[in-house]
Symmetry: C2
Subunit: 425 residues, 2 copies
Amino acid sequence: MKILKKNEITSFKRSVDAGTEEQRAAVKEIIADVKERGDEALRSFTEKFDGVTLDNSKVGKAEIEQAYKQMDGELVEVLKEAAANIRSFHAKQKSTSWFDTQEDGTILGQKITPIDAVGVYVPGGTAAYPSSVFMNVIPAQVAGVERTAMTTPPGPEGTLPPGVLVAADILGVDEIYKVGGAQAVAALAYGTDTIAPVDKIVGPGNVFVALAKREVFGDVAIDMIAGPSEIAILADDTARPEEVAADLLSQAEHDARSSSVLVTISEFLASAVQAEVDRQLQTLPREEIARKSVEDYGAIILCESMEEAEDTINEIAPEHLEVVTSAPFEQLAKIKHAGAIFLGRYSSEPIGDYFAGPNHVLPTNGTARFSSPLNVDDFIKKSSIISYSEQAWRENHEKIARFARLEGLEAHARAVESRKETKDE
Amino acid sequence: MKILKKNEITSFKRSVDAGTEEQRAAVKEIIADVKERGDEALRSFTEKFDGVTLDNSKVGKAEIEQAYKQMDGELVEVLKEAAANIRSFHAKQKSTSWFDTQEDGTILGQKITPIDAVGVYVPGGTAAYPSSVFMNVIPAQVAGVERTAMTTPPGPEGTLPPGVLVAADILGVDEIYKVGGAQAVAALAYGTDTIAPVDKIVGPGNVFVALAKREVFGDVAIDMIAGPSEIAILADDTARPEEVAADLLSQAEHDARSSSVLVTISEFLASAVQAEVDRQLQTLPREEIARKSVEDYGAIILCESMEEAEDTINEIAPEHLEVVTSAPFEQLAKIKHAGAIFLGRYSSEPIGDYFAGPNHVLPTNGTARFSSPLNVDDFIKKSSIISYSEQAWRENHEKIARFARLEGLEAHARAVESRKETKDE
């Protein structure tokens, strides 16, 4: 892991995998085919991409029961506790409809309504994470979404990982379909005989899933398109090198394109963490991925002051930020852009991935400048409420008509004036 | 305007103008050119598309003063009152950072931070609306956004409409650039020497603007991509046909692709509104546009019960909904999907376009199923806060490590365990 000065860095942005022209074209074709042939198209794409022929893509009760048998009972309890923590944190985010009355009889407000139906994409293979089920489904349930449909690609035997099935069952998700890729996104967006269409699609996926979400965006809502995982750690002399190194590597093991950055004012910590990363890398099962990530996208940035260090963090706008300093809440006030902020020595990043309660679906690649973690508000929508009384209308309609005429919209002016003719009847 | 039964309608969805392949290619080229040549590219596109050569695209003080001179003083007061109403409504939406402490010392919460810089696109020509300036800028200002940059295409004389300049000045927007189209979106997204880049771009525009926003989406945030305006009116016998017709036409005059729909259980009202629309159309300055809109996308839907009528509204998920019934608040509970809901006889839709306070940037074409009016939350982002105490870590780290190992992420498990080694030092 290289040690750099702040001014040696030109940009923290990584290139986004926008897919090749061929991939884009393939995704468009898949979507068109699913729109046209529905379940038949799903069946043939599952054969082609997942290597398995499925008569019925919907997961049944027997498969869920089987999944529980394959899981350690204590681990199931851990999953349940994690789900409860996540539910509890998200419940605190819930906003309510409100209104405001004025003396002239005007009532204005916002009505909150949950989205009717949400589709959750859960990736397959080694990236099939029960935690991903929790983090995407629970905020929707807390928001009051009535229907949640989950899709995930089947393994070569036509089965799904037990952890994913148990996680879904813990939440009471009873619509699980074995279908992945762009075809799953198309089915969720436009519906087939088996899968009713949804209003919003969330959840991570490979480049085909990302491209498909981009393609259906507008017809349905989508969540953000996530990039490789990131961590930045802001640390001073009080941080322990072996802990900092371990936390950096926890993100590096995700993906060779993941990014792990230490920002510090301590020369001692910089060298010590550098050595620790090397040492710890050697015994990691995913050493190869983590090493490449650290070499290509990792850095230790040595700053001249805590202010410069805080500015550096805001420039990075990291997905995950750990603040391991003598008084981390002092830094909190200075941090403007970060997806999740972990404060203090004991707040190791994986605590947030699995257990603490806040969402692990977070803005990546600097998008924390303008995006938030997945949250309950992502699954509701607001309607404005406007109720004008006769008095309010009488006192304001002429002004409104003038404003409309300034914009050249005569029918607008006449509409608001139209009450006049009958007001004395 | 045709009268239809509910079952005679198959879909309320209109095709979205996704642009032609040529338009998409042109937009990509424009964006690439602005990225490369910056202000020089802006100058040449302004020459090409707006027919005017500008040495300096930034609006100066003298132009603002000139704009005030061209405006009626009373009208300026109306604009100020409207701005104050809009600000007051949006101020009520402001959410605050929060946190929650647990007995084991855990602190969890969400930190709210405004987006740093926002770009507002204001369309040119006949669609240059001061109200659009208010509705896009005020929520950003209320959210606490520090920098708002406005772009709008210059007219053939190189000038801007006085109403737009005065509206911007009322709000204290001092960065106004005379540049429009895809080139303006590119400049806001990536910056030039004159225009510093922003984090989010909002505001309506033509197909080139919409395509450019779609293209830069991800590098910056964008608002929704708006379609033609819509109104649905849910009315019973108590509604006055001339008022309902006038309100339907207020949306029809926007665009030949606008949609105006009356949903009613009253046969009398259906025929009377049909006749009134015909009568009122004849004297409208924008008769041609409104007539085409009413013929192509207008309808009177005659329902058999109020329940069927309410369901119909939810299927349409209209941008604007008026409820003109004997007890409109009773219907409010049944409405799930609508951008803005106008309750009662005196709540004519243009009141919301200009004056009442709620935003007029609303989800169109059924997207009210999953989208909200533009609001203060669109200009903030949240950061999760996680602070675990030593006790919380001690009690939970083994569970978290187990969960991580279930997902095959050993470095995650080791990170959360790494505190162990030093905990007794």
